[in-house]
């Protein structure tokens, strides 16, 4: 808008040949009728994902209303204490795990591809799998409330309250297993988004020209990769304790309840920013469109997002100020808490400055109102956030309604309001616009409702009201504030109902190809079609391509930019380099299928059966899930070259239609997966060292327990090494995939890995080390359990690779399978070796 683009010769000549568009449409066509459930396109999965997240928002909101009804007056007993505890636990758990994180991920899946000029994310079936596992698992999890088996220990589930002795029911297992596997959905989505943002951007969209929203989602997804493994590990350890009596958190046998808190908050504090950063990034997209002006300080915002991501991992002790950690340590965390408030405050000033630089007076449309409301509520929540970073203040405010007020201001202000702004802002980009009038009514109800509900809680907190109480006494000055909160909650509910009516009445997914750029925004999502994204992939020369070149929309829709056709006659994505977005190859992306749906249902059934201790149904469901995964891989990946080997995408750029090795999106995804596994393993190593520190050298190992047998450990080390060597040889000697060397090497590798694993475990058993006697044994075997899971997957992948070779589905050009297997295989061997060094070496060498 500021600088007009110089005229440019289009990459592809116009007009486009007859039939080109028809083929593109045909390739990306959604299956009709009920078969649409097999569709994986982000254009359909994204909005469905958003709808599911909003459904969980309403469901969890209803629980909030029950809480406010009970607390409207002192001494009410509308629900009994036990039910109340389930209700508040589910309110928090569903809001955090089934609404907030999925919602921001869902919006990203819906919008991000078109925003970065991609036809599709690189792994649409993985995205669809993430959606189905979340929807099925989430609904079943929520239903536990109707059977009185919902979690009841608070959303952070501190042991030993949640240990078997004090929570014998399956409520806690519902949480550990039910939520545990929904984390898989979040991680799967995050990996897809990372690879999508780094490798699927339109030509010319360098990191510097990438929209802020993509930055926000990139930081979000990386944070998910590093934060979520901690809660998965924590849940696994607690479930091992509950199911098999491994005393990780029981002090009488060397465990420590503080271990849970460290692990949980190492996830839980970044979680807050995981939710906030994408929402802030939405605001950074909407504000410029509302103001008709570029975001002031774009690079500062990028720095703020990345900086917040880093700092947020240094803040977990904020939730543990009252646990008796020495004040000197606390002062570091207080300083870190102050530091992290600066990038958030910076963004507030960026939005104010961008509003200030508007060309015309801002029009108070629903998105603009929600953004202004967000600024009001979030700023207040941010300021109370600085307050609770101040250690002595927090000693008073901690676990009172002041904290309830603070966290709702931050999360409703920092996430829900931007989300509703996004709903009203982007609805026309994916479907029919929502009602301006209803949007305004909803805004005022929600804005007044939020402040009326949560502002008085600051006061009730300082009048001495702790959180998580099912009633409160009269005569302490709490009555008025609680009644106001309850009236506010009803107001908020009315606002949410208005939005629901608006969406149900007015929103329909778009069918037609073209759309109106309702807000005259500058970014690419406003010229995408619902199915195949852009008609042609635009050459990007600015952060706001549509402002930079007002003719771009016409050029793209006429097919004048890159890849205006389906080069191989299949769904495909343009893969580009991570920093400069130089096109590298044309990748096949998955189309409609059923295996991922079955895999999702099987996985959900497996975990939920386990939660209910139904072992045989769980095993059956698990087998179905594994079979579905294998089918999905077997039929849906690693085709090798299909169709023309190279394609001219326009502008003289000729790209291969197939790639192998580190260039591929698939290799990148495997690396991300290894980061997830590695982080989880680091958490387990940390747990081992933490428990060692707590117990002291004299109790490590405790009397009657020994160090793992060194001979067997050395054997395991050698066998793991041999397994790694075999896999390397197999990949090396693959050739055209018809020889026997690589097959024999694979077979030998399978044997060596399995033997290495057996020696690894036997060394522990010979120690003797027993998992139930002491936290020493529990943490050693905990590491081994994690390693065992990896060995099992590596063996499955190795056998699968061998089967591919034997059926002629492996070759010089068709080697994605063996490349990825090798990566995971080497990772597993490396992880096992690190474990051996720790378990055998550290206790012998360190003291």
């Amino acid at each position: 808008m500021d600088t007009q683009a110089p005229k440019l010769e289009l990459p592809n000549p116009l007009p486009r040949p007859e039939g080109e568009l028809a083929l593109l449409k045909q390739v990306w066509r959604q299956p009709p009728g009920w078969r649409a459930a097999s569709e994986v396109n982000n254009g359909m999965i994204g909005p469905l994902f958003v709808a599911a997240a909003l459904l969980f928002f309403l469901l969890a909101g209803l629980l909030g209303l029950i809480i406010r009804a009970q607390l409207a007056f002192p001494g009410l007993t509308l629900v009994n204490p036990d039910t109340y505890n389930q209700v508040f636990t589910m309110h928090g758990t569903v809001m955090m795990f089934l609404f907030a994180v999925p919602a921001v991920e869902a919006v990203a899946i819906a919008l991000l591809p078109s925003m970065i000029g991609a036809r599709e994310l690189p792994f649409p079936r993985l995205g669809a799998f993430a959606f189905y596992i979340y929807l099925i698992g989430g609904l079943c999890f929520y239903s536990s409330l109707f059977f009185g088996i919902a979690p009841d220990g608070g959303w952070f589930m501190y042991p030993p309250l949640t240990s078997k002795a004090f929570s014998p029911g399956i409520n806690t297992d519902m949480y550990l297993l039910g939520i545990g596997f929904i984390e898989i959905s979040a991680i799967a989505g995050a990996i897809e988004l990372i690879v999508g943002i780094l490798r699927c951007r339109a030509p010319g969209m360098t990191l510097g020209r990438m929209p802020i929203y993509a930055w926000g989602i990139l930081v979000f997804a990386v944070m998910v990769v590093f934060a979520f493994p901690a809660v998965i590990v924590a849940s696994t350890l607690l479930e091992l304790e509950r199911a098999f009596d491994w005393p990780f958190f029981l002090p009488e046998r060397g465990g420590d309840p503080m271990l849970w808190q460290h692990l949980f908050w190492f996830f839980g504090h970044p979680e807050v920013y995981v939710i906030f950063l994408p929402a802030a990034a939405m605001a950074s997209m909407i504000v410029p469109a509302m103001a008709g002006a570029r975001l002031v300080g774009h690079s500062l915002v990028v720095a703020a997002l990345v900086g917040t991501g880093f700092l947020s991992f240094g803040l977990w002790v904020h939730h543990m100020y009252t646990t008796g950690i020495p004040p000197l340590s606390l002062s570091f965390f207080a300083a870190a808490g102050f530091a992290v408030s600066i990038p958030s405050g910076l963004q507030v000033f960026v939005w104010i400055a961008t509003f200030a630089s508007a060309r015309q007076r801002i029009r108070f449309s629903p998105p603009a109102l929600f953004i202004l409301g967000f600024l009001f509520i979030f700023t207040l929540g941010g300021l109370t956030g600085v307050m609770v970073s101040v250690t002595p203040f927090d000693w008073q405010a901690h676990d009172t309604y002041f904290i309830v007020a603070h966290l709702h201001y931050v999360l409703i202000g920092g996430m829900v309001f931007p989300l509703f702004a996004a709903l009203y802002y982007w609805a026309p980009a994916v479907g029919q616009p929502l009602s301006e009038r209803l949007g305004k009514i909803a805004f005022w109800l929600l804005f007044i409702g939020t402040n009326l509900t949560f502002f008085p809680m600051h006061i009730s907190g300082f009048m001495g009201m702790p959180r998580r109480i099912y009633t409160f006494p009269s005569g302490f000055g709490l009555e008025l504030w609680n009644l106001l909160s309850s009236i506010g909650a009803a107001t908020f509910a009315a606002g949410a109902a208005v939005i629901l009516v608006d969406v149900v009445k007015n929103f329909r997914l778009r069918r037609q190809e073209t759309q109106a750029n309702q807000w005259n925004a500058g970014t690419l999502e406003w010229i995408a079609t619902p199915q195949y994204g852009m008609r042609s992939v635009p050459l990007v020369r600015d952060r706001y391509p549509l402002w930079h070149d007002p003719d771009l929309k016409r050029q793209v829709e006429a097919g004048g930019h890159y890849l205006p056709f389906a080069a191989t006659g299949r769904r495909e994505a343009l893969i580009s380099s991570p920093a400069e977005a130089t096109p590298q190859y044309i990748a096949y992306v998955g189309g409609p299928a059923w295996a991922h749906v079955v895999a999702a249902a099987g996985t959900a059934a497996c975990f939920l059966s386990l939660a209910g201790s139904f072992v045989i149904p769980a095993a059956a469901a698990g087998l179905i899930a594994v079979a579905a995964f294998v089918t999905w891989m077997w039929n849906g990946t690693d085709f090798g070259p299909v169709g023309p080997e190279r394609a001219d995408i326009g502008g003289g750029i000729v790209l291969p239609t197939h790639a192998t090795g580190p260039l591929t999106a698939s290799w990148w995804a495997m690396v991300c997966t290894m980061l997830v596994s590695g982080t989880a393993y680091a958490c387990l190593l940390g747990s081992y060292l933490f428990l060692w520190l707590v117990n002291g050298d004299a109790m490590w190992p405790p009397p009657g327990q020994g160090l793992p047998a060194p001979g067997w450990g050395a054997a395991a080390f050698a066998l793991y090494g041999g397994a790694a060597l075999c896999m390397t040889v197999a990949a090396w000697t693959l050739g055209e995939g018809r020889g026997w060397t690589h097959r024999l090497a694979l077979l030998a590798g399978l044997g060596l890995l399995a033997s290495g694993w057996a020696a690894d475990g036997w060394a522990l058993w010979q120690g003797p080390i027993r998992p139930t006697l002491h936290a020493y044994g529990a943490s050693a075997w905990g590491l081994f359990v994690w390693q065992s899971a990896h060995v099992a997957i590596a063996l499955l992948m190795g056998s699968y690779t061998l089967a591919r070779s034997l059926t002629g589905k492996l070759g010089g050009q068709r080697r994605l399978t063996i490349d990825n297997t090798r990566l995971f295989w080497l990772y597993t061997v490396g992880q096992g070796s690190v474990g051996l060094v720790l378990l055998h070496g550290f206790p012998r060498l360190l003291p």
Binding site: G297, G324, A356, F376, V390, Y470, G477
Partner: protein, 332 residues
């Protein structure tokens, strides 16, 4: 009793709502009774006032950015404004706050004296055992923390089951009570008075009804109280009390409770040796008199469902309940 849970629940609710009433200001950080809480209260007001000022300033800028005439407001639409308001201003403010708040942190954890009065508080689902370990055998009470005015006390905080957290906001901030650990916290009451404290870490189904009273007394008064705690109980003074004591034994109450000077010496439940003199029953859930004593023994599971005290309403006839209540009321 199980047939008519509704009626009892209403009763329990009424008891809660009515009986707990006291003056306001007995459980708030903003009415400090001691030095630590006073310092934190000053810090709190600094934060509240400073935070309000910054909030008003930022909202003022926002209103200005949206409503001011284009020519004036556009001068603020610059990177310089963002750097000044979003980086320099918060950095300076927060460094100042950090220095000030670290000073307060230090002041409220530094020992004030060499020989504080040590008090052990052991949290259990859902009550508090309070022991004075340096004051001899039997210096034990429950759900009530008495301390002398003007002398520093050191609380030794532990838990016998799950994580709890002790909070007497008028004296100091919270400190968690974690199984397997002993956390220490020092505080000092500077004037006599009655304050309420409460568990602030969710500890199970009756977390809500886990409160207590903290009573700061003049040293002489405190010493007399402590001496009284150590004495064995006097024999029953009336036939009704004697009957109550007999019922107490027959009903098996001694399996969980201690009454000093008797054979009943269990620590599973609160020590009842001086139960009649306490300000509350059932960890702050009820006021303490003969009626509530009888009500609690009869309907502990209706007043506080899920706690470990069985209800005796069905097994004990009304006369016996009243007798037990009369006897316990006399244990002062």
């Amino acid at each position: 009793m199980t047939e008519t849970p509704g009626r009892h629940r209403v009763l329990a609710g009424l008891l809660l709502a009515g009986v707990l009433g006291a003056c306001s200001g007995v459980q708030t950080p903003l009415d400090p009774m001691g030095d630590h809480a006073a310092r934190i209260a000053v810090l709190t007001w600094v934060l509240f006032i400073g935070g309000t000022a910054i909030f008003v300033l930022v909202m003022g800028l926002l209103v200005f950015a949206v409503f001011a005439p284009a020519r004036i407001r556009q001068a603020f639409g610059t990177r310089g404004f963002v750097v000044g308001g979003g980086i320099i201003f918060p950095t300076v403010t927060l460094i100042a706050l950090l220095i000030y708040s670290l000073g307060v942190s230090r002041a409220v954890v530094l020992p004030m004296s060499d020989n504080p009065l040590r008090i052990e508080v052991i949290a259990r689902q859902y009550w508090w055992e309070v022991r004075y370990p340096d004051e001899g055998e039997g210096a034990v009470t429950a759900n009530e923390l008495r301390l002398p005015v003007g002398r520093e006390v050191e609380l030794l905080l532990s838990s016998a089951d799950v994580i709890h957290s002790l909070w007497i906001p008028n004296l100091h901030g919270k400190m968690d009570m974690i199984p397997g650990r002993v956390n220490r916290q020092r505080m000092r009451a500077d004037r006599p008075g009655v304050m309420r404290g409460q568990c602030t870490e969710f500890c199970g189904v009756q977390h809500t009804l886990m409160a207590f009273w903290a009573v700061a007394q003049e040293p002489a008064e405190f010493d007399a109280w402590l001496a009284r705690q150590r004495e064995p109980i006097a024999p029953p003074a009336t036939p009704e009390q004697a009957r109550g004591m007999q019922v107490f034994g027959e009903a098996g109450c001694g399996a969980c409770h201690t009454v000093r000077g008797t054979e009943w010496q269990s620590r599973l439940g609160p020590d009842l040796s001086r139960v009649g003199s306490r300000l509350s029953l059932a960890a702050g859930a009820l006021d303490n008199h003969r009626g509530t004593l009888a009500g609690w023994v009869a309907g502990a599971q209706d007043i506080k469902p899920g706690n470990n005290m069985p209800a005796f309403g069905r097994s004990l006839p009304g006369d016996d309940l009243l007798a037990v209540a009369a006897w316990m009321e006399s244990l002062r």
